[in-house]
Assembly symmetry: C2
Homo-oligomer: 269 residues x 2
Amino acid sequence: MGATMTGRFDVAADGLAVRRAIRNGLHRGPTAGLAPGYVQGNLAILPRALAADFLQFCRLNPKPCPLIGTSEPGDPRVPELGEDLDVRTDLPRYRVWRNGELVAEPTDIGALWRDDLVSFVIGCSFSFEEALTAEGIVLRHIARGCNVPMYRTSIATRPAGPFHGPMVVSMRPLTPRDAIRAVQITSRFPSVHGAPVHIGKPELIGIRDLSQPDYGDAVEVREDELPVFWACGVTPQAVIATAKPEFCITHYPGCMLVTDRKNTEFALL
Amino acid sequence: MGATMTGRFDVAADGLAVRRAIRNGLHRGPTAGLAPGYVQGNLAILPRALAADFLQFCRLNPKPCPLIGTSEPGDPRVPELGEDLDVRTDLPRYRVWRNGELVAEPTDIGALWRDDLVSFVIGCSFSFEEALTAEGIVLRHIARGCNVPMYRTSIATRPAGPFHGPMVVSMRPLTPRDAIRAVQITSRFPSVHGAPVHIGKPELIGIRDLSQPDYGDAVEVREDELPVFWACGVTPQAVIATAKPEFCITHYPGCMLVTDRKNTEFALL
């Protein structure tokens, strides 16, 4: 599945301009780096019959599932996250699931829309990574141009209805000094995963081999670094896959919903 | 040198009542646990000729030397820290140094007072330990009833005049989860050492063997714990010892100045 760039537009535009560019087919690739300063979100679209349980799941597991927006059933808009925002067209690419099986990866889901679909938008690590980078902390996966490594852990999420499963975490290697600063910086952003859930001892959270991530790409952890783990927005996707709903749509990995909300709005101070 | 309790008084009293009890000879031992909620401080009394350099040293090294109060030359009061506060009588015990040599450990320094002496009061870890304990974090040295282990590090302080030397740190073993919470909690108290300076890799800051502290008592670090290191108020004392001033008075270890200021006043939020 080639996620490629088509056409040209201003990557430094605001959230609305980026969504319109995507809607008009000008961008088909990952959204990392687009609309700097604007919140991007993970998307999960579920039938109304599952919405209450999924809402409860997010409420019970705010670190991996920080819900930043929801829609009315059947309404493709999420007004709290942006003007003229349409979840059917405004992400570069989607994944469509039926009974837990991945069945399509379209760039538009207008033809699949149903009156009972509810959208959930969950905060993503881009927000806190922007804050870390702004403070001069170098994140290796960004320096390497690869995906952040992610791992299934032995930390159970709190179940709700059919939704249950392990917490997925992302890992960033940092010097002890930067790890301390990263706790301080990311603690200011509880709505976008917040402080790390673990530092330093991967075996204590059920991770046997850092070089074998369950998602994303492995990165080196140097002798003078600690692996620092954050709750990851892949958790709800993994949980939805386990629940095998009859129908479900998620964003394609890395192809997020770009909103009109600013990252700074989500900082405590 | 037996630091023992004499007489009885209300340990839950306020700072002023505790100072008066000490002044009246009712308490000669460590001040840990006295006047809960009130800030206690490390004391250093130096001749005026060294005061400007020491003030500059504290300004340049705020993590190990968080200055919370100073006196006018020759004045034994520190009005910003307490009513009816007299540094000559209000600490349980003192150490007197001449040319870097420890020469006496009196319980009163009235007879040694000079018109050129300046007092410096430096925040102490009791303040942040109270905040950690209030959040349910168990500190092993407190559970064990021993002193916190302290280590000279390879982290240099920034020199000022004759004052220079390595940073001394205290170490508390914590689970990764509690270590993350401890960073959050202690970051709120920058005036009393603030966030840790290091986590997890003692060899990176020049500590070869955690079981051999340079000051205090060793405590166990379990397999599921990380050693967490804070800048320590012993640093200025070690630096003063290195500078060998012709005359100097400090508090006796553990016998701090109890102030009228509340720990909560020093919290950022």
